[in-house]
Structure formats: structure tokens, C-alpha cells
Symmetry: C2
Subunit: 458 residues, 2 copies
């Protein structure tokens, strides 16, 4: 009863103190401070990573992860928690290995690419052709038939390598390659293979595709450069199977005054079967959930609804994001803002906003008190939002990307190194504080982001 | 003929210019500059790492490595190249794997420890007991029977962890453990298991032993701390086999005036079967060989003999070093100095000297012109020399350790990440220059290190 009275008093106070675009500074400060002092996200993430682990959509791990998600959202005290069906193509890895058989024999550290077909029984053995990009592949296309093509791309940022992982296989197949290999998309390797999604072009022969470590790709490149014919034997049991039903998991804190207006906080629940998806994107799931929970923990109830979404099947084709758009197409105009956290749980840096200049400036101003979470690094600026929310952002919803220090993200991304020990609890808590703060400054004031208040500018 | 005359003139000049303790500064500078401009060590190391690779003593790789060593020393132009027999116990790894079977199933990234026995067919499955050291093992000894003991040691330098790798198994076995696991001896991991030597105490049950990644050890520790019984299934085909004959490979530049006095430059040729032994210790082998070669390339011939030794079987028990002592016991007083390079091929830092203060000060003074190879970092100071030369140093030979930047050595040490791509050609050339310089300032002056010249101090 005492708690109820307190809640009521606080709600009244907040409603009073908040102007059309701003919130009560003390309330925001308290929310941030409480998030900084809280370890709930860290504990939930430990459970997800250590006690569940890999959770590719369609795998048994994802079933457990979904249960973790529902259980955690209920524990967080959300008003409602539900699941929405998503049809997802199932891919299984099976056993896989590769070795160099000439001019010197050695085992390759490899990992098959997501949604690659397997090699069939007995595997494939062929000489390797090393290319530095699509242009070289095209120029040397007459050499390709019967070869395993290795894309050995120097690191110039993630996209420079990941392009060949996602789209490199089919052009090589069309020239007659029997398999493709790609150097792992990372700047730093300690013998660490990195997987990720690949796609076959319609009509192209479906040849198998795998990633090698930076180390092994370099060794093959150097051997070939010395004039050796390098032969590789590749065996992959990977299979593309029938579709199955997975679920986006959604939890809400219902708004006290504008419950139909939604501030969405999203992250993706699925993770590759290397490592335990700590930074990609278990941390995101824990953080968005903990951010909304922290508002309740402060006995606050925002004017608008705060909706937490754990998307499924981002890694193998953003199926959860697509399904969310289809399911919620009729209520997109009620989505005031959608934020996604999918860049890891390193120290916070601010937000990137995919909207017009007025909205960006307004969000930046509302978030200014959060700058203390990233001294000398904080910024709210124009930029991309996220893969999952991308579908609704392209339909006009204001999109926000959660920005963090990216220095070491690709050290661990999609690899066996993306594990709970890489999570800094302090950075995690600071991110929770930043996301809770963003949710509050968007969900609480009467004015939407970028909206001129009824009474004119303040 | 012209070359012969030049060589003769140069030899005469050097002999003239060198005082009893110093060398002609221009000659030393030229030697260093030539080494800095040379890529022979880098090319030889590429061949060893990429075209041969792992080379545990007793393995087929070591046979090829020995041939590489002989071929390279002959190519370097040494006056004589020979091999000396070393009896080495043979250990083979075979296939190996480990997985956690409860409370959640996951594959462990593991690597068996060198000279561990295997598990036998079918492997071993048992609950894991996590301990933080020998003291805890002893206090909790009643819990040990039937368990797999995991030594999960925080990194406080190599020795803090490696002690448990080398000597942890037998105490656990004596308390009734069925196998031991140890967290990899590294400060930085990207899912990278690190192997190394282990030893059974006489009379203790010979249970199998393996290393886990930092990531997997941490996950098991956290699961146990949460109250879970963690069960591991371990399968290792490892076998300790009969001994075989391996070889130290030795090459010499014969001294022009004191050929019986030897300046030894050593490194070990063998390497673990993870990675390709680039820093440990292929780089050392390439550098000591290239340093001596550079003296010849400058048409110099030192007063004393410079002897390059590629020791065999350091990793599995320093058998090459022991054998060298036995073979050369009668000529130890002719060893003026022995230097070993076995700390990686990172940027040079100077030398550590295992000798009396007078000798240390003299070597430091002679090496002073080399300080330009490590601006702001150079020092020649008291310290250890090396495992291989340790046997003759303990008999009184002046021992010198080649010091390099150690920041990243244990990132790659004994792991799949110790590969040629981790070698910086500039750092490698600077090391060759430093070692060539040391060899010259010790082999050329009439006075031995620390010796008061006949004509009194200069």
C-alpha cells in the first residue's frame, strides 16, 4: 500500500515536472544512477550465454533462449509479454573440416558459412585459386572451373570483407568454382574463424562456402604466391532444411496517458553457433530489457508505451524484423521511435538517428543529460539504426541505433570468442542507463521527437 | 680474385682498427645497416613456417625442418655445417576432443598437453572440480576422487599459469582425479587454446591432461559457481612412444685468429603442433643464422669462431640443450659466450646477461652502439639467458638472453596463432642486426668479455 502511494505520488510529480519536450532532470538523473548501480542485465546475460549459449533460429538453443526471454521479461515486471510467430528457414551445420593436402599437409581452422549447402559425402578436393576481389575473379575467370576460390580480402572495415562472405559464392560458382572460401571478417585474429550468413543468387550453382582464419588464408596466399599448387579438401555436412516457426518475444510497459504511442527498444535474440553470442546480440537483449525494467524499478510509468522486442532470426536473414513489419503494419504511425542495439555491449558512445534534421536535433537535445555516460565521446548524430527495425524505419518510423565503442567488436563477432568473459559489467550498466534514458526522454514528454509543442518552442 | 683481395684488405683493416675491447665503429655500423636492409631471415622464416610448419621433435615436420636448417646454413656460407645426435622421447597427439555434457551441452576448444597419456578408447566422463591452485586442491582433497580437476588460474604472468600446466596433473592424480584441465597460459584469448609440456611425477597415476581456452574455462567456472554439476567428456588418443634420434644442427664461421674460441648463437628448431612456430622459435632460428651470415656478407671474418646452434626438442624437455652439454663438455672453457633467442621476434629491447657484474658492464659497453636499434628501450642488464644454453651457462659459460618486446608473446605462444603473419619484417631485421652486432663485439676484440686487457684498462 505504501508502495502504491509512493508510485502514485511519483507519477503525479513526473507528469507535473515534465514540459512538452523535456523531463524532470532529477528524475532522469535518478533513473540513470539506478541503472548504473544495477547488475540485473549482467546476471541475465550470464544466464543466456553460459546456461543456454548458441541459439541459431530453429535450433534447440533458440527454444531455450525464447523461454529465457519470456521468463526474464516477466521477472522485469512488464505489463504484458507475448510472442509473435516468424517463419524461418532452418539450416544445420553438422560436422565440418578442411585441410590442405598439398604442397604440405595441414588442418585448416574453418567454419562453414550460414545457409551454405554441404559438400556431400566424401567432400570436395580441388586446387585453390586466390583472388583479391570480384574484379580479379572476373579477369581470371578462365582459371576458375574446377577450383576452390579463396577470397583473401585485406581488412578495410567489415563491409570490405563481409561482401565476399555474403555474395562471393555465386559469381565464383557461375564461373565454374566447386567451392568458395573467404578470409574471416576481422582485423585481429588469434587463430579464430568467423562465420556469418551467405546467400546464393537465383539460378547459380549452389556450391559450399566456408570461412578460414586470417592465419590460414594468409598461409595459402603466400604458398600460391610462391608458385605452389595448393590443394584443399573440404567436408561439410551443412543442410538447408524446411522452415520452422520461431518467435519474436515482446514485452510492454503500458503508457499511462498515451498507451497507443509506442517507443520500441529492440535487439536480436538469435546468435551464431560459435561462441555464445555475448556481444552479438545477447548483450543487446539484456540491455533493452533492463532499460525498460529500470523505469519500473524507479516506480515510474511513462506517458507512452515502452515496447521491448527480442527479434528472432536476424543472423540468417532478418526474418524477425520482416515479420514485425508485417504483423504491425497497421500501427506503424503509432511507433514514435524505434531503437536497436546490435553493435555490442562495449562502452556507450551515444546514438545515431535515421530521421530528418529537426528530429535528430530534438533527440540530441533531449539526450544531452546522458552525455555523462560517455565523457568526451558522447554524440547523437545522423546515422543508421539497425537491421531488425530497418523494415519499419524504411516505412517512416524514426530509427535510432545504439552506438558503442567499436574498437574490438570485430575481434569477436560471429566467432568462438564472442563469450561472456568479453562483457565489461560497467560498460553494460552504462549502456542500460543510456537506453533507459533515451526511452524516458522520448516516452515521457508530451511532444514527439521533432514535434513543435502546442505552445510554440520553449 | 678481386673479391678475395677486398676480403683480405678488409680483414686487415678490421684487425688493425679493433682495440682489445672495442671494434671499429664504422665496421659495426655497416654491419648493422646491412642487417637492417636484408630480408634473408624473413624469407627463410616464411619457408620454415609456411612450407614446413609444425615440427615437434620426432615428427615428420622436424625431419623437414632439420633439412631446412642444414640447407639454410649452407646457403648462408658457413664454413662447416653438421648435425649432432640427440635422443628424444616421442609423443604423438592423435585425435582429441572434449565436450561439456551437463548442465548444457557444448563442445570445448581444447588441446592436449605435450607428453600427456591418452584417455583410452571411449574417453573419460566425469564431473568437473574447479580449483584456483595447489592450496585449494589440498584443502578440498576429499572432493577430488573421480573428478576432472580444472585449474582455472588467473593470469599473473606466464609462470603463474604454466606451473599448473607442467606440474598440476600429478598432485591431482594422487588425490584421485581422473584427468586434469588447465586454463590456457595467456592473457588474451580469442577462443585460442594453448598447449605446452606437462610432466608426471614418479609414481603418480598417469591421468590425461589438456588445456582449455580462457573462454571455456571461465564458462565452466561460472556454471560451477552457480551450483551446477558440470560434466565433461574427454577423449585423447595421445601416446608416449619409444625414443628416436633427432639432431641439433650446427654451423660455424671459423675464427681467423682464435678459431678455438667460440661465440655461440642459439635458438630451438622444434615447435608445437599448433600454429607454425613463427615466434617460438622459428624466428630465433632464422635470426641467429642470419646474424652470422650478415658478418660473412660484409666480407668480415671475426677473430673468434661464431657458432650457430639450432637445438632440437626444447619444447618437450630441452633435450637438445642437454645433449649439447654432454657432447661439448670438454670444450666448455672455449665457449666465450652463449646467446639464445627464444622470446619471440618482436621489436628488440637489448640483452640480459647471466654473468658477474664486470662481464655484464663490459658487454653493455660493447653493445652501446646497438642502442639505436631500440630507441628509448635498449638495455643490457642482468638476467636469464635461455633454456637450451642453460646447461652450459650453469657450468660457467657467460649466458646472454636476447630480449624483445614481450607485450604480445603470450597471445600466440604454443597456440594456433603463432604463425608467420604475426612476424613484423622490420622488427625481425632489427633483431638480426642486434644479434649480429653482439656476435661481432664479442668475437672480434682480443679481450674476452670482462677481461682486463694486457695493456691495462683503456
Amino acid at each position: 500500500m505504501f508502495k502504491c502511494l509512493l508510485t502514485f505520488a511519483c507519477t503525479l510529480l513526473c507528469a507535473t515536472a515534465a514540459s512538452s519536450q523535456t523531463v524532470d532532470p532529477a528524475t532522469l538523473d535518478n533513473l540513470v544512477d539506478a541503472a548504473l548501480a544495477d547488475s540485473w542485465a549482467y546476471e541475465r546475460l550470464a544466464e543466456l550465454c553460459d546456461e543456454i549459449g548458441p541459439r541459431l533460429a530453429g535450433s534447440p538453443g533458440m527454444v531455450k533462449a525464447k523461454e529465457w526471454s519470456v521468463r526474464s521479461m516477466k521477472e522485469a515486471g512488464f505489463d504484458s509479454v507475448w510472442m509473435e510467430e516468424v517463419t524461418v528457414p532452418v539450416w544445420t551445420r553438422g560436422r565440418e573440416w578442411a585441410r590442405v593436402t598439398a604442397p604440405v599437409e595441414f588442418e585448416l581452422e574453418m567454419i562453414g558459412l550460414g545457409h551454405s549447402d554441404g559438400t556431400g559425402r566424401g567432400g570436395i578436393e580441388a586446387p585453390v585459386m586466390v583472388v583479391g576481389g570480384f574484379e580479379e575473379l572476373s579477369i581470371r575467370s578462365e582459371e576458375v572451373p574446377g577450383k576452390i576460390v579463396l577470397f583473401d580480402m585485406p581488412w578495410e572495415g567489415y563491409g570490405s570483407v563481409a561482401t565476399y562472405r555474403v555474395r562471393g559464392t555465386s559469381p565464383a560458382a557461375e564461373f565454374g568454382a566447386v567451392a568458395t572460401l573467404v578470409r574471416s571478417a576481422t582485423d585481429r585474429s588469434l587463430g579464430t574463424p568467423h562465420t556469418g550468413m551467405m546467400r546464393y543468387a537465383a539460378g547459380a550453382p549452389r556450391i559450399p562456402a566456408a570461412a578460414l582464419t586470417v592465419e590460414d588464408a594468409g598461409r595459402i596466399r603466400r604458398l600460391v604466391a610462391k608458385g605452389h599448387e595448393v590443394r584443399v579438401r573440404l567436408s561439410m555436412e551443412a543442410e538447408n532444411r524446411d522452415s520452422t516457426i520461431c518467435h519474436n518475444v515482446i514485452g510492454e510497459i503500458r503508457g499511462r496517458e498515451l498507451p497507443d504511442e509506442i517507443v520500441l527498444l529492440g535487439a536480436h535474440l538469435d546468435a551464431w553457433d560459435a561462441g555464445t553470442g555475448a556481444h552479438d546480440d545477447g548483450g543487446g537483449c539484456a540491455m533493452v530489457m533492463a532499460a525498460a525494467r529500470q523505469i519500473l524499478q524507479q516506480n515510474l510509468r511513462p506517458r507512452r508505451t515502452v515496447r521491448v522486442v527480442h527479434f528472432t532470426a536476424e543472423e540468417n536473414g532478418v526474418f524477425g524484423g520482416k515479420a514485425y513489419l508485417e504483423t504491425h503494419r497497421d500501427e506503424l504511425d503509432r511507433h514514435i521511435l524505434a531503437m536497436e542495439s546490435d553493435s555490442g555491449s562495449f562502452a556507450p558512445r551515444g546514438f545515431s538517428v535515421d530521421a530528418n534534421d529537426v528530429v535528430i536535433a530534438d533527440i540530441a537535445a533531449r539526450c544531452a543529460p546522458l552525455a555523462r555516460l560517455a565523457p568526451e565521446h558522447w554524440s547523437v548524430r545522423r546515422g543508421g539504426s539497425g537491421a531488425d527495425i530497418g523494415f519499419i524505419v524504411r516505412e517512416g518510423v524514426v530509427g535510432v541505433g545504439h552506438r558503442v565503442d567499436g574498437t574490438h567488436y570485430f575481434d569477436v563477432h560471429h566467432s568462438g570468442a564472442d563469450t561472456f568473459d568479453k562483457i565489461d559489467p560497467t560498460a553494460l550498466a552504462r549502456n542500460v542507463a543510456a537506453i533507459a534514458g533515451l526511452a524516458w526522454v522520448v516516452a515521457e514528454p508530451t511532444a514527439r521527437p521533432g514535434e513543435t509543442p502546442a505552445g510554440g518552442p520553449e
